[in-house]
């Protein structure tokens, strides 16, 4: 179990294809960075995905894809001290940064699904 599941996160999209997750992140982030599969965030979560993997920043929130074999892909948002560190790291490493200033004028789309716990989400 990765640390993501222990953190407070918001689900922005759920049970979608990875392509849809990428498109959502590209359209709904202030800044978009592209990372390789296996890029590590939040100490021990390695991002699963089809390259190029879009990771976004919106304010202090990190927006990223999360894929599980039986549940499809999700877009998660985490905003805390660690997300600020992750965004700073992405800015410093500058992996194919793509910033669209027009995106900043767009109103923030509120999360479609409220925060939930890992145990509830993956209960079998």
């Amino acid at each position: 179990m990765s640390c993501i599941e222990q953190m407070k996160y918001e689900i922005l999209l759920q049970r979608i294809s990875f392509k849809e997750a990428r498109e959502y992140i590209e359209k709904n982030s202030d800044e978009v960075y592209y990372v390789s599969p296996g890029y590590k965030i939040f100490k021990d979560y390695y991002i699963i995905g089809v390259p190029p993997i879009a990771v976004g920043a919106k304010g202090n929130a990190l927006i990223f894809p999360y894929t599980k074999p039986c549940h499809g892909s999700f877009v998660l948002s985490i905003e805390n001290e660690d997300s600020i560190k992750e965004i700073t790291r992405l800015r410093e490493t500058g992996k194919e940064k793509e910033t669209d200033s027009s995106k900043k004028s767009k109103p923030y789309e509120s999360p479609r699904v409220s925060a939930t716990s890992y145990q509830d989400m993956w209960k079998e």
Partner: protein, 176 residues
Amino acid sequence: MLIAKVEIRINLTFLQIKYVRDKIMTDSKVLLMMGCPEVPIQTSIALYLSHKLNKSGFDVTVAGNDAVIKLVKVSDFDGYYVKKMVNLDKTLEDIIEKRLDFDICFAFMHNDSGLTFAATMSAISQAKMYSIIFGKNAEALEEAIEFDCVKIVASDVHNPTRLKNRLDKVIEEIVK
């Protein structure tokens, strides 16, 4: 006398080649990367493939989520067909951190998540990739694959025979 010497030499060369081939196979590490087990033929094909490769001398590991591991362990409770079972997330972590890698990977997929995991494996590992694509969306998935791999495709859900036959041909090529 000369013919006998030639025969002995040929036999020795044959044995040496066989030894080298067997040694390569024994040293070859194969990963069966399982997807969501909701399509019935996956578990059946995994048990078959694991056993067939084990018998051919490969070092086979099956990786999956908890549901996959439970299904395989109940089906093969003595570990006759599957010798090694591991958690998929942990395996990917070990490959990313360079603690582990494989020579060959068979990635099972019948949905977008399976394709996503296979694309990740293709990017992080040195393994030669074989995509086992099945289920109702097999053709669409096959077209969506962009990474380098051998594709073994059968749009079946319940009957594993076509997929098994196609895999047999691929294994023949690998073992040659």
